[in-house]
Structure formats: structure tokens, C-alpha cells
Amino acid sequence: MTPLLETRGLSKSFGGLKAVQNVDLRIDANRIVSVIGPNGAGKTTFFNCLSGIYRPESGAILLDGHNITGRKPHQVCRRGVARTFQNIRLFPEMSVLENVLVAQFQHRSMSPLRLLLHTRRFREQEKTSREEAYDFLEFVGLEKYADRVSSSLAYGLQRRLEIARALATKPRLLLLDEPAAGMNPQETIEMVQLISRIRERGLAILLIEHHMKLVMTISDDILVLDHGVPIASGAPKEVCQNPQVIKAYLGEESDF
């Protein structure tokens, strides 16, 4: 069976710094895979390659068997990859609802002529867009904030909004860059629940996270990067017993 996402020998460097080297990864639909590693291990660079922000130097990215290496971000998004950022990146001057609506632009044909004539089809499309956007807000529990300006939301809620916006692009693969960063224990538990519910919708999730308990609880597989090089991968149990991993990353942490 072709995996949903496959990378083959993916590499990217900046000047002399090899940020990501030879990463092979497979994710099947409905799985949660975590990428862990010390700071500067190349995790976010890896995400940037997957979402089309960086062009990898060598290697290939296959989505459902289609080569998407070197595609632009909006093309990658249309193929079904969405992401969130470690430092939340909303459209700050837009309302909560608009932040979700913006992600639906790609799904319906937009003819300026229909807009000008204000046809029935145009009005129906605008209406369904709004209804769908409310569904996504409800899914993450933000429906009652729909008309607030997004930058006025509390931090934890902004994270949820970013996830709702990513879901509204109707991805098959969701990349979450440290979704629990800066959250208190209660919020972290809620985030774990939200991620599980997203998986239930049939999405595959690729996760960068430093919160080890979270990673061990929800991941099906783990990939460990160190200085851009994959040093281990497999089920959580295997990975945390791997001596190389313990040496590179977990040496001083023994809390799991």
C-alpha cells in the first residue's frame, strides 16, 4: 500500500549547516507520528520542506504517491497538507470566523463575473462557506468567539483557532509544530483530546513536540532527529530504550 506521505532521503542545508540530512519517513492515513529531537535538530526545517516553504536540495516528498517536491505552499496545501506554527501565526486583524473562511478560498471556484452579477450560485457558495466555517469553529470549541478579532483571543484559544484554520483547508495530513507549547497541564490534556479527535476524522498527523508525556501517549511512531540526522525511529517504547537516543537527547532527562 502506498503510504499517505513518504519522504526519501530528504536533505536541506543553509550555507555549510546541514539542517536536515537524508530523512526517510512514512506515514499512513489515520496515524500520529512525532518528530522529536533537541533544539536545533532540524525539526521545523523538516516541516518547512514538507509544506513547501523551503525547497529541499535532494530527496523526494511523495504524497499519496505523487511527487510534490519543490511545489509552492499553496499547491502543497491543495494536495492536502496543512500546518500550524510554533509561534502562532494567525491573521491578526481578521475576526475568528474570517480566519477560518480564508482557508476555504481554494475549495470553490471563484469567478469575478459571478461575483459581479451576484448570482444565486455565488450567494449559496458564500452561505455554505460560512456554515462550514462555523462547523470547524465548533469542532475546536470556538463558535462563541466567531466575531472577535483573532488577536484578542487568549493564547490557548489562538492555538485552537490555528488548528481550525488548518482543518478548514481539508487536509489529509496535518503538521502540528509544538501544539502544546506554553500550555498549562489542563490545556495540554485538552490538546491531547483534540488531536485524538482530529485523528478520528481520518487524518494523519505529524507532530513536533517537546512535551514527552504527550508524545509517548498519543504517538504511533516516533522519529528522532539529532543535528539534522535521523538517529532512530519506531514505536515509542523502542525509541525510548534506544541507547543512541538516550545519549543524544534524553541523557539528562529521566522522567519517562
Partner: protein, 309 residues
């Protein structure tokens, strides 16, 4: 005040608002491009001028082809002008700006000034070195007929300008605030990378911004050439400068601001002409600009720097 002077004042005000409305249509192009790309498109005035010429030559061709049907030919002429200006605006973005989007801010600016000069002399050399008159038969129809507003006279042309501008502003407001295209446009203005990550084809949205702004400038160009009855290859420079000033006055990047700034300029010009003569138009315009910028450096409706941080 006598009845006569009130009617003159009303006429002056209507004249000022009409001029303001034409400036507003041009100012919108400056402010939209700035809002999305953060650059000043100094060639926008030339897009306006190309609209003027396209309309006049189209009307000439139509009257040869099927005779002088005023309304039909004018409407078609405006459409031709919009298409021409939009095509030039699009080509301008594609050729002179797109590749420079990631360069230093001065690079596209310099490119814009170059395009502006190029287009002026392109029209000068290929179309007309002298002023061209708008076909009298058409403009006279609109300037000689009028309705009475109290004792003041408002010409059909002024009514057309005000009506068109009002419809366009309303449409634009609706487009930007309440449609998905408008949301995509605002998203592109706020964060281009993030916009593309949620599937918005950023290049197409930017091209659309140029096309829309250029089409509006073409409408203004046609109205302006009927209003003054003449066209000339450097008309875009002077009107462009005024419209750009209006956009700065209102707060560049802010759409209602551009309209407000344009109206203030139009009225300032009208009142200056009435009291001191038209040679004082420009000094008065820029005195207003300086005064406003001293008090509100970001323009009347521009955000304060503190809001952004």
C-alpha cells in the same frame, strides 16, 4: 448671502466633490497596491492616462462603425478603457514588479518610476505629441444638460461621476469585507506566506489587485477627460500625484482613507479656485497635506504606529 452666491457656492461644492470622486477612483489603486505589497506603484497615473486615450480612440472607431449613439458608444468606450488599463496594469505587475518582490524596497520603486516614464513617452511617440480633445459631441451632451439643485445647476456629467463613484465604493466595500475573494485579499495583505499556506494563490490575488485598481483608474480617466475636455500624455503624472497625495492624506493602505483624502483634496481645490484662483490649487493641496501629516503622521485614518506593535 444672496441667492446667487449660495447657488455659486453649491456649484463649487458639487464641482469639488466631483473632482474628489475622480481622485478617489485613482487613489484606490495606489492604496490597494500599497496595502497588499507595501509598495507605491508610481506608474498608476499612466494607467489612468492610458484609459483616457483608449476610450477616446474606441469612441472614434465606434462612431465610424455604426454612428454616434451617445450612451452606447460611451458605455462601450468606458469598457474598452477598463480592459486596456487592466491589461497594462497586469503587464506592469508581471514584468516590472513580480521579480522584485523579494528585493530591497527601493528596487520596485525605481522600477515603477521607470515604467511611468516609459509609458508616458510610449504614448507621446506612438499616439499623440499634442493634446487631444475628447469628442465634443459626447462630452457636450453630458456637460450641457443639468438638473437644478435649489438654484444651483448640477450637470449630467457630475451626476454620472458621483453616481458611478458611489456604486463602485459600495461594491468595493462589499467585495473586500464580505466575500471570500475579499478575505483572501486581506489575508495576502497581512501575511503572504501564511496566505499561501492556507491555499491562496498569492500571485493571482496580487494580479487581481492590479487589474481592479487599473480598471477603476480607467473609469476615472474617462470621466476626467470629459470633465476637462482634453487628453495629454502627461495627464497621468499630475492627476496621479494628486491621487497619491490623497491616499497619503487619508492614510496609505486604508481604503476609506483614500476616499476621504480625495474628497478633502477636491474640495480644497474648488474652494481655493473660488477664492484665490486656480494657480493656488497645488500650494493649497500640499499645505493641507503637510498640516495633516504634522498632526497625524500616518494620515487621517492610518493606524498609529503603536497599534501595529
Amino acid at each position: 448671502m444672496t441667492a446667487d452666491s449660495t447657488s455659486t457656492l453649491t456649484e463649487i461644492l458639487v464641482g469639488g466633490i466631483s473632482r474628489g470622486a475622480m481622485y478617489a477612483l485613482v487613489a484606490l489603486g495606489y492604496t490597494m497596491v500599497y496595502g497588499v505589497l507595501g509598495m507605491i506603484n508610481f506608474a498608476h497615473g499612466e494607467i489612468f492616462m492610458i484609459g483616457m486615450f483608449a476610450c477616446v480612440y474606441a469612441i472614434g472607431a465606434f462612431s465610424v462603425a455604426w454612428g454616434d449613439h451617445i450612451m452606447l458608444n460611451l458605455t462601450l468606450g468606458i469598457m474598452v478603457a477598463m480592459i486596456f488599463s487592466a491589461a497594462y496594469g497586469y503587464a506592469n505587475e508581471r514584468i516590472a514588479y513580480r521579480r522584485l518582490r523579494k528585493a530591497h524596497v527601493l528596487a520596485p520603486l525605481t522600477s515603477a518610476i521607470g515604467i511611468s516614464t516609459f509609458l508616458q513617452y510610449f504614448i507621446f511617440l506612438t499616439v499623440s505629441k499634442d493634446t487631444v480633445n475628447f469628442p465634443r459631441y459626447y462630452s457636450d451632451y453630458l456637460t450641457n444638460h443639468h438638473i437644478n439643485l435649489g438654484s444651483a445647476e448640477v450637470t449630467y456629467l457630475q451626476l454620472t461621476i458621483l453616481g458611478l463613484t458611489l456604486v463602485i465604493m459600495t461594491g468595493l466595500f462589499y467585495l473586500i469585507n464580505f466575500t471570500r475573494l475579499g478575505i483572501a485579499l486581506r489575508a495576502t495583505a497581512q501575511d503572504q506566506l501564511m496566505a499561501s499556506l492556507v491555499g491562496i494563490p498569492v500571485n493571482r490575488i496580487i494580479a487581481f489587485t492590479f487589474i481592479l485598481g487599473s480598471a477603476l483608474a480607467a473609469i476615472a480617466g474617462v470621466m476626467f477627460s470629459m470633465y476637462n475636455n482634453v487628453l495629454v500624455f502627461d495627464a497621468g503624472y499630475r492627476v496621479g500625484l494628486k491621487a497619491f497625495t490623497a491616499a497619503i492624506l487619508g492614510g496609505i493602505g486604508n481604503i476609506p482613507g483614500a476616499v476621504l483624502g480625495a474628497m478633502i483634496l477636491g474640495l480644497t481645490e474648488a474652494l481655493t479656485t473660488l477664492n484665490f484662483g486656480s494657480q493656488w490649487d497645488d500650494p493649497a493641496t500640499f499645505a493641507v497635506l503637510m498640516l495633516v501629516l504634522m498632526l497625524r503622521p500616518r494620515g487621517l485614518l492610518g493606524e498609529r504606529v503603536a497599534d501595529k506593535v
